[in-house]
């Protein structure tokens, strides 16, 4: 797997661009640990100051230095995205591999249930979930809920990989060489499954951050912890746009767009690498 990443870094421009973008965003989010102001304190700096040397990203109407506040926001948003992605990977892997390897009725049953989760519109359900939870809504609960609804599409991708592996002849050579099932899964099949898990993880982080931003901007999450969506929510509450405080909206949107494009580039370049036909085309074997 690491060899694949090293190759991609050297020869795939998209992958390299994605890594650069995400490193910038990650570095910036680490800055939050050195922030002079705790995230929720307001009126620690003069409000509504446009970007200047003293305040590189300007300040908000609630007297917060946007530069440090945004570092907290992006850190929380990334953390949320990663947590949802990890939990949903577990579900997607278990269901995908079980369906792929067992085949027959189990596969058909699992996949028809799986397809329902792909089709069902999740946004109204999450809104309903907020409506019922109201102030009891916590980031942990939202992450769990989104993870339980967001694994279906990826489970189908993982299942197709597992299914093809099960019927490949080198699996049977492994069995007749005395390899244990665990050894076959880990040593023979994992190198084929990891790339697809990697690219679906990138897409899932994108999906969960997208939904987090959307729900927070409407105020449907815990609006006291700063995230990108919450920042934009408060900017809207203070009608920042009308009041001309454009930077309060511009910088959060810019940063989250950088994250989306970075993650997307990683996912796309890894997908291209997985597709055997394109790889064969390149190496001409």
């Amino acid at each position: 797997m690491w060899r694949t990443i090293r190759d991609l870094l050297r020869f795939n421009r998209q992958f390299a661009a994605g890594v650069v973008l995400l490193t910038l965003v990650a570095a910036y989010s680490c800055l939050s640990f050195f922030s002079p102001y705790p995230p929720n304190d307001s009126f620690v700096v003069p409000p509504d100051v446009p970007p200047s040397w003293a305040y590189p990203m300007g300040t908000t109407s609630r007297g917060q230095d946007l530069f440090w506040l945004l570092s907290f926001a992006i850190r929380n948003t990334l953390l949320f995205g990663i947590v949802v992605a990890v939990i949903s990977r577990l579900l997607a892997l278990v269901i995908g591999l079980v369906a792929g390897y067992s085949g027959g009725l189990v596969d058909r049953a699992l996949m028809s249930v799986n397809d329902t989760f792909i089709v069902i519109p999740l946004f109204p359900i999450l809104v309903l979930f907020y409506f019922v939870m109201r102030e009891h809504m916590s980031w942990g609960l939202l992450a769990l809920m989104m993870a339980c609804l967001g694994w279906a599409y990826d489970a189908r991708l993982i299942r197709s990989v597992a299914m093809s592996l099960r019927t490949r002849e080198f699996t049977e050579t492994g069995i007749f060489s005395g390899m244990s099932t665990r050894q076959i899964l880990v040593e023979e099949h994992l190198p084929y499954v990891l790339p697809i898990v990697f690219s679906t993880t990138m897409n899932n982080i994108n999906w969960s951050i997208g939904l987090e931003v959307t729900l927070s901007v409407l105020g449907f999450t815990d609006i006291n912890t700063p995230t990108i969506g919450v920042l934009i929510y408060w900017a809207n509450q203070h009608t920042a746009l009308v009041a001309g405080i454009w930077w309060w909206i511009f910088f959060p949107v810019l940063l989250v767009v950088m994250t989306f494009v970075g993650l997307f580039l990683l996912a796309v370049s890894m997908n291209e690498h997985i597709d055997p036909r394109s790889r064969l085309g390149r190496t001409g074997t």
């Binding site: 490949r168 002849e169 080198f170 049977e172 050579t173 492994g174 069995i175 007749f176 060489s177 005395g178 390899m179 244990s180 050894q183 040593e187 023979e188 190198p191 084929y192 074997t285």
Partner: protein, 273 residues
Amino acid sequence: MSGALLDVDNVVRTYAGGSLFARRRTVAVNGVSLRLEKARPEIFTIVGESGSGKTTLARMILNMVAPSAGAIRFNGTDLSTIRGGRARLAFMKQVQPIFQNPFEAFNPMKRVDRYLFVTARRMAGVSTDAGIVDATDGALLSVGLSLAEIRGRFPHELSGGQLQRVAIARALISRPALLVADEPVSMIDASLRASIVNLLRDLRDRLGVSIIYITHDLATAYYISDRILIMRRGEAVESGDARTVLDNPQHPYSQLLKQSVLSPDPQNRPMNF
């Protein structure tokens, strides 16, 4: 029944196809029987066209597919009674497969010698590293290769012929009594084919290994087999000593197969096919 190395007793295999509402049952193998004697190692060839069920029969003998009816006994033990890891390992020590496409039989991402070492450790019960290297080198020598030649190499770095020899060597490490080879030479160039076929005959004579040889190529079957079984749409139409059967086949299908084989010299070119 004591003397039987392998006793395939009237096996049947059906597949339920189609979706939830349209159940379709296809009969892949319908009542086939054959016996291999322990005392007499031989090359038993199963010939048939695509869809004749010869591969399904092979997979049943390898205990990878369970028969829908009938039974298969190896050294007297019924394959359906083999349960649990240890029992399966014991069976697999005795019966090893050789696959059609060597490039598919090895994981392209892994080095080739790895399969040999694992087989030596797990199947032949060799524990010391030196023992493993010896067992592997010995097996490779018996197929005309050496460990030095293939050490650390990936499948795509070897030719089809070399890779198939490595596959046979891997199967030999656990000293099996029976090899089940499903079209082992159909992917190999004609010029190299003879060497692999000779190797299989040599294994029978030198190591006393019995081989079930699956093929659609009658000419190679004639050259290599002791006994032969001709299958058509899941059923055995004719079987017996290879040369007697092929010199003058009795069953009309066997005759049709024989006539369809193109004789490789232009002199007796059938005028209008």
